[in-house]
Structures are given as C-alpha cells and as structure tokens.
Symmetry: C2
Subunit: 357 residues, 2 copies
C-alpha cells in the first residue's frame, strides 16, 4: 500500500540496488506465477530488475501431518517449481515420481489413502520432520531444504507456528458424495483432496492463526519491499490465511511499497483450483471485483481479465488501479508477461519506481 509517502531519495548511481520484491503465495498458481516473475526479472533490461531480490511469504495453513510426516504442500510447490523439481503436468509434487512407499502404506491399511505421497516427495518430508523434531523452526528447515533447490527466492513460511485450516462441512446426501454425510469438521486437505471441495463449506478456519507469530523476516519483507505482489493464489485458503497471521495485514497497510495483485478469477470462475467453493463459504461472489474487495484496505493495483474490468468502489478509498490484462498462464511466456505486467503496475504506482520500468 502506498500512502502519503514522502518522495524517495534518488537511487545511488552504482552499483544498482536490486529491487526488493515480496510476494505472498499459495501453491500451484502462486508457484507458476513466481516462476514467470523470476523469468521476467532475469530478462529485464533495467539492472535493478535483473538484480532483484524476491522474498516469498508462503502459506502454511494447508500443512498436514500424514503418517507422522510433516507435509507443507504450498512451500514445497514453490520450492519444487522454482527449483526445477516440480511435476509440471500436475503442478504439484515431484517429476518422475513413484509410489513405492504409498503402495506399501496402503497394504498396511494406513489411513488416509486419499492423499498420496510420492517417494521423492517423502524424502523432503523426512528431512523436514526430522529437523522439526530436533527443534528447528520451520523457517530454518525451509531454508535448509532450499539449500538444495536454490529456488532463486528467499522462501519464508508465513509463520513457524502450526496453523491448519479446517472446514465445517454442510450436511449432504451421502449417496451423492461418496458416502460423505457432511455435518462435521475436516482438515482442509480432506475437503480439498478427498472431497474435491464439492461438499459445501459452512466455515473455513485456519486453526492456530490467531495465536501465530509471523516467521522471522516476514514483516520486514513487507515493510522494506519496493513492490509487494499477490499472485493469483486462492484468496481464502492461501492469501487469506497468510493475512490472518497477526501483523501481516497491518504490515501490508503500512508499507510504502505498492501492493499489486493478479485476480485468481476470470469471468466468474477460478482459473485453477476451487477458489469459488472457498469464496462461497465467505459469502463472497466469485468475481475479480469481489476478490479485490477482500484486499480493499491495502491493495493498490489489480490485474483483471478484460471482461472483468470494474470501477473501484469507495472501499478502496480511490486508491485502487484496475488494469485489464491477459491473465491466463498458458505457458512460460504468457506467465512471464503477466508477472511483468504486475511488476510494471507496481513500479508505476511506486513514488520512486516509475523511472525503473
């Protein structure tokens, strides 16, 4: 959010300081956007863009403990995607993956069977789980895992504390939902992976968020950024849960950096995933405008599909700049162009940054 900031001092002539970009990110969509962002930065002509330092604050509210292993799907999607280990077809998990362990766990009758961990992926969870048990905070564990993957960003979990989103299911006809009668609370992953979010959610709650502390560096990454970017991640269970970590939302309101986002909704439907099912639980329509409304108190720029352009209302305090752009991340070039558009919008909105583009 850019407020009434005093004019920034002139940048020192050399060496050019790298642009400080901070992004909040969920899993698949966020990771792909970030890959495009890095590609855009690396191919930029401006030296401070090429030297940009990107910090990613990753959602950890969809973390889950399975078979005694701590699994952080969103952090891993970012790490694998930017580190070159992702299964690009699926968008999550490792490429050339096998299921030797999972098949055996099923043979042992171990539950759940609806969340399959691949063998390569399990190695990540083994390392993470062991380090966590040794007492390292998740942020330090994540840094260690990234020593291998070198994702090209500083990847921070939103918090080192345990936050797990749970979902209150509406009562439903079991015959229509593979035996699921609803009317109970389940872990987000069960709703998402087992039930494909087809059983309506009455309430989505990131348990532990209210007492969570931002991981070291998270608030500083927001306050010290030149641009803050919101990829087209799920506004409820990805970006939304990060925003519920005490201090994060305040830091977004207070930062002098412009906060620009990419709508995860195109023409009334989520581009990927099942964000509409999440928005429904909040009583929020699946529109680019409504999602922007969730960020009204700090959002400065918003990329939307041509058909979704809107005139920002009073909630945005006359600050929001809405820009129509092609939003489909249909390939590396389109994704890099989208990321560049978000970056350019941020730089244009930055008191000091317009000259950088």
């Amino acid at each position: 959010m850019t407020e009434a900031a005093s004019p920034a001092p002139a940048a020192p002539p050399s060496p050019p300081a790298g642009l400080r970009v901070t992004a909040l990110a969920g899993g698949v969509g966020g990771a792909r956007f970030l890959r495009g962002l890095l590609a855009a930065l690396r191919s930029a002509s401006a030296p401070d863009l090429r030297a940009a330092e990107v910090t990613v604050v990753g959602n950890t509210a969809d973390d889950i403990t399975l078979h005694g292993l701590r699994v952080c799907p969103d952090l891993d999607s970012v790490m694998y995607t930017l580190g070159g280990g992702i299964d690009d077809e699926r968008g999550w998990g490792r490429s050339d993956e096998t299921s030797g362990v999972a098949d055996e766990l099923a043979a042992y009758g171990q539950q759940p069977t609806w969340f399959t961990l691949g063998d390569k992926d399990i190695a990540t969870h083994l390392v993470r789980t062991r380090l966590l048990r040794e007492g390292l905070p998740l942020s330090e564990v994540t840094a260690r895992l990234c020593e291998r993957w070198r994702p090209g960003v500083r990847l921070l979990p939103m918090t080192d504390d345990v936050v797990e989103t749970h979902v209150d299911l509406a009562p439903v006809d079991p015959a229509a939902h593979a035996g699921e009668a609803g009317g109970r609370r389940v872990h987000f992953q069960e709703w998402w992976v087992r039930l494909h979010a087809k059983v309506p959610a009455l309430r989505i709650e990131p348990l532990g968020a209210a007492a969570a502390r931002p991981a070291p560096g998270v608030l500083e990454a927001l306050s010290d950024a030149d641009v803050v970017v919101l990829p087209p991640s799920n506004p409820v269970v990805s970006i939304g849960t990060i925003l519920q970590v005490p201090g994060v939302r305040d830091a977004l309101r207070a930062t002098t950096a412009p906060v620009v986002g990419v709508s995860p909704v195109i023409g009334g439907a989520p581009v990927r995933g099942m964000a509409d099912a999440c928005l429904a639980a909040l009583g929020v329509p699946s529109t680019a405008e409504a999602v922007a409304g969730l960020y009204a108190d700090f959002l400065d720029g918003w990329l939307v599909a041509e058909a979704d352009a809107f005139e920002p209302g009073g909630a945005h305090g006359g600050r929001l700049r809405v820009l129509p752009r092609p939003l489909l991340m249909s390939g590396p070039d389109a994704t890099a162009a989208l990321a560049r558009a978000a970056l350019d919008l941020g730089l244009a909105l930055s008191p000091a940054g317009a000259s950088r583009t």
Copy 2:
C-alpha cells in the same frame, strides 16, 4: 535347559495340544532357519507338531534410528522372511525394492548414506515410528505390523526398551579402511554395514541392555516352552544381546524345556555374516565348541558340522548332547531338514517328548 524334571503327565488324547516351540533369533540366518522350522512343522506327521505354536524372541539390539525412522532390522528380517516379503537373494529387505526415497535423501546430503532404506521398507518404518510416537510399546507395534505379514509365529522383541549395540573400534590405518581411523565408538550398524566389521572391535556393548526389561511374554515363552531352539544366529550381537536382557538367561537356565542350538560356525568360519569378528572381540575362538561354551549354562543339545564334533567339557556339566548334522542351509529342503534335526534333538532330550517324534 532340562533339569531334574518330574515325569510329565500323559498328553490328553484329543485335540492334541500343539507343541510349544520358542526360538531366539537374529536376522538373516535366524529368519531362514525359522522358515525351515515352520516348513518342517507343517509337513510333520505328528499332530502336535503340525499344530505347533512357535514364539520367536527377536534381537532388537541392532535397531537404529535413521532419518527419524525407527528401524528394527532383525525383527523385520524375520517378519518379511516368514511373511513372504523378503528379498531372498540378499536375505534382508523387501523383494522388488526401489530406492526413490534414499536417492533423494542423498541428494539432500542426508547422512548416513551407507545404510540404504528401500521404499517398501520405509513404509514399515513409517508405520512403526508413528505408532511408537503414539506411545505403543515395540511389542505391540510389532504385533500390528505382523497383522499384515502373518508370519505364522508369534514375534516378540526381546524388550520394549531401547537397546543399541555400540562398538569400540581399534585404531587402524585410515588408508587401509576407507578413511576410517578407528579409535572411536560407533553404532553397531556403522561397524557392520559401513566398515563390514573389518576394523577390529575392541568391545561390543549393547547399550541399555542392563536396564532393559524383557518384553511381555518373553520369559513366559521360555519357561512354558516344550522346546527352546537357538538358530545359527550370531552368538554375540544377536543371541548374545538377547541373553543380556535381565531375566532371559535365568529363564533359559530354569526352563524344563530342552534348549537346543545350531552352530553358526562351520569348520572355524561363520556360515554367513561376520560372527568371527564379533567372537574375536570377546576373545572367543570361532569354533562350534567355543560358541557352545557361551551357552554352557543352559544348552542341552548342539548341532554341529561333522568336522566340528567335539566331546563336551566340564563346563556343560555332562548335560550337552553334541550331534553332527549337515548345517548348510543351502535351500528350503536342507533348511527344513536342519530345523527338523534340531527339533528332533530337542524332543529326544525332553522328558515327555521322545514319543512325539
């Protein structure tokens, strides 16, 4: 050990009570012998042999925690071998095994790399580790794992307490031992698997054994047995560590059942494994006679190779019966015949059992 037992009452006519056989066992050799024992029992003509109930007291002193997983190599070798999941070529681990997880752990730089856990095997360790963390004792965890494998025996760990054998290495020339200078204490598995027991051991100590309690059922399985069998397992780090659990040796001395064993040494060399390196640490020669001497206070019958026959000395109190037999477990038939010979020797030495054969 058979002592001055009163004559047993006549067996009830029907249904015939199954013979109660209890075996102490290490890993590969013990597991193969036990498979032969089960085959011999199933093909026996005597109903009480066909209905025999076999209890196996498994060594747990070579257990180790790797990558946060609790690994019980000997229990698993018995479970996999009797349950049909063993890699028969190696004698340990799962058949058709893959190394997806291990390769990734190595890519993460995780130590140790000298102990490779297969993917299927890791599933076993995941289940075990999770249940142990939930507070279940190892004996109960083992019973749960056996629900899948149905090994045809009751498999008991020697103790539910943690016992881990460590080895004091002699100082050696690093150039001759892949950089290992010795002169330090290592986990048994490091000595065995990484160093192939080629660095001399000054001392072999099952840490925790002195304070360990026998697992539920262990002492009863020895006192209530009709025959106790010692497979040709390692007399130091397998049978020897079981004997160091307080109460076990006393139970073997006190039981009215004959205790018969199979020499793990043929013609001065261990049949398999590196038992000689272990015996050397105790200053015990690698001979069938010397190994019998380790069991002098409770051993009643001892199968040895033809060339190893000896006249039992005074340490055996005139009780030991030494019987030459072909000891090589070269295949299923030879192994079953060897197991049957051990069983027959036990029955012959049993006050009530001679008529059973």
